[in-house]
Chain length 336, copies 2
């Protein structure tokens, strides 16, 4: 069987089509013949199903510029897991954008229409644009060529934490606001702040205080502006991003509290009825500017931690400008 | 009882000494009278043990510049946990440097010599110099005034993973080196690299390959320099730091593998006998330049993750220059 590399395609013949496409889902049929992407051809070489391409054996072909070792690691791993998959090239799959491989459900192949995963390959040392995530599985190849799969998903955040709170007064002290005589609902039902002691005083974080002051529920010297100003002094631009996300979470009926112990901005409770009887917090939220690029290692760290504490990691991407628009992207570990 | 603020000391009298020092460990005795640090005086005000200082009640005193809210949060938390503690001021404790509070074992106080913890206070938004850690407990106060304790400890890394490996040949391919026909010991006993498939080929990460080439155990076109050069191309200066730490770990009898899935540089195995029968990896190692300053949130994230997977987080601080000197600082969560 004579296979030749023609640009970025390996041309195989009619016989190859029968052997590799019809029964095992390799390649793309063109005029009755079979075209293979180099990564597919490399896998056939690796398996010993073909012997050479233009005289190159597996070792020579993998060492050539035709094949990316990172793509090969992912292709092989998914094949090892029992999947058929097709390189996401224009004309090879229905929607090639934003993916490197289209993976079919086990038992299916390119002749079916169903898709299990759209996989994007990144090396450990590459970065991934946050805004481009949300409808693909990231396959991260680490320096030892192990593959970690991270499923990314755009999602809405929703809950029923919407207790009504009477307005109160607070005093700005350093990096927090103390309400010396707050209504009981503030902490007990709506879960704002922390008790300072046993005498009923509640301390609010700057982001909680800024939100409440902007909502007309907290009076403080200098108004909401004074709190926001203090927030910017100690956190810079990040404070505005965090306040926008905090506000959106509260508007969605979710009670955010600090995520510090988990290295995140917030942890969230979807259904708070009382601070004394809290459920498990469901999400860890990290606030990022919309143009953020992830280092895969940081992403792996966040997602691994969230998994370990039975929460879902959600990234809140905030755009600057008048109307703040927030995109929520959940990322979870996936075992295909 | 008349208490007055004199600079950064609250002067209390002989009676206060009996009541607050002798029986409860507050303050420092000076000429038979009692001096209190403002944070201690604030705690006595908070508890209602004293009513005012220069006419200021708790609310006014906490709002003044005399007391840091962050220090107060930690002081109160440790008192709530049943400890006596002394502000680490020159002349108040034996060694005041690098600490904010000296905490005595439960049941002990400033009249004893034993010390349980030397505590340094940081706010969530401060940074902490990595090189200054190693002999203190960091008490991090988050934006909601909750305190997280992180015990930091200088330590040696030791193990018995020292299998002898015959020299072999490799081929530099992109960001890895493939040994097509390695001795079995390479992977099986010494746990270098990963198998590429079933035919015995082993792929090494660039840091593994650079180490082996520098040790004279791996022949590759262009020698160790070519591997290091490739490493610098894809990782910059970080590659040299990681190689120095990898080399030090191997020299200590510990087998490092990638820590990518844990968001770290390496995970380490202290007692590898064979790759087929690996024990649990004990450490997660993050490589940092010696002048690194931690964001407490990043530190909390690393330490929390390590704890969740039953490993210890160790930071390897590398100094530049001819002789690379590495300091190992272990950080673990602490519940005082």
């Amino acid at each position: 069987m004579g296979l030749t590399l023609d640009g970025d395609v390996v041309r195989a013949g009619y016989e190859a089509r029968e052997r590799f496409y019809d029964s095992r889902g390799y390649g793309k049929v063109r005029n009755g013949d079979l075209d293979l992407a180099p990564v597919e051809a490399a896998h056939l070489l690796y398996r010993g199903d073909i012997e050479s391409i233009d005289g190159m054996d597996f070792r020579a072909f993998l060492g050539s510029t035709a094949v990316s070792e990172v793509d090969f690691a992912v292709y092989k791993d998914l094949r090892d897991r029992g999947f058929y998959l097709t390189p996401a090239r224009e004309g090879w799959v229905d929607d090639a954008s934003g993916a490197d491989f289209v993976v079919y459900p086990r038992g299916n192949g390119p002749w079916d229409t169903e898709v299990a995963y759209r996989v994007r390959v990144v090396g450990e040392r590459d970065t991934a644009a946050a805004a481009a995530l949300g409808d693909c599985v990231l396959a991260v190849v680490d320096e030892e060529s192990e593959v970690t799969y991270l499923d990314t998903d755009r999602r809405d955040v929703e809950g029923t934490s919407d207790a009504v709170v009477p307005a109160t007064e607070g005093e700005l002290l350093g990096e927090r606001v103390v309400c010396w005589e707050p209504p009981a609902e503030l902490y007990e039902q709506a879960f704002y702040g922390q008790r300072l002691g046993d005498d009923g005083a509640v301390q609010l974080s700057l982001v909680e205080a800024a939100y409440l002051a902007q909502a007309g529920l907290l009076t403080v010297d200098g108004g909401a502006d004074a709190v926001v100003e203090r927030g910017r002094e100690v956190e810079g631009d990040r404070f505005d991003r965090r306040l926008a996300v905090y506000t959106a979470l509260r508007a969605s009926g979710v009670a955010p509290k600090t995520g510090f112990k988990f290295g995140a901005d917030f942890r969230t409770y979807a259904d708070v009825e009382s601070a004394a009887n809290l459920g498990h917090s469901e999400l860890l939220v990290r606030v990022l500017p919309a143009d953020h690029r992830f280092e895969p290692r940081d992403l792996a760290l966040d997602v691994r931690l969230a998994h370990g504490v039975r929460k879902t990691m959600v990234f809140a991407l905030t755009t600057d400008g008048g109307d703040v628009d927030i995109e929520w992207i959940a990322v979870e570990r996936l075992t295909p």
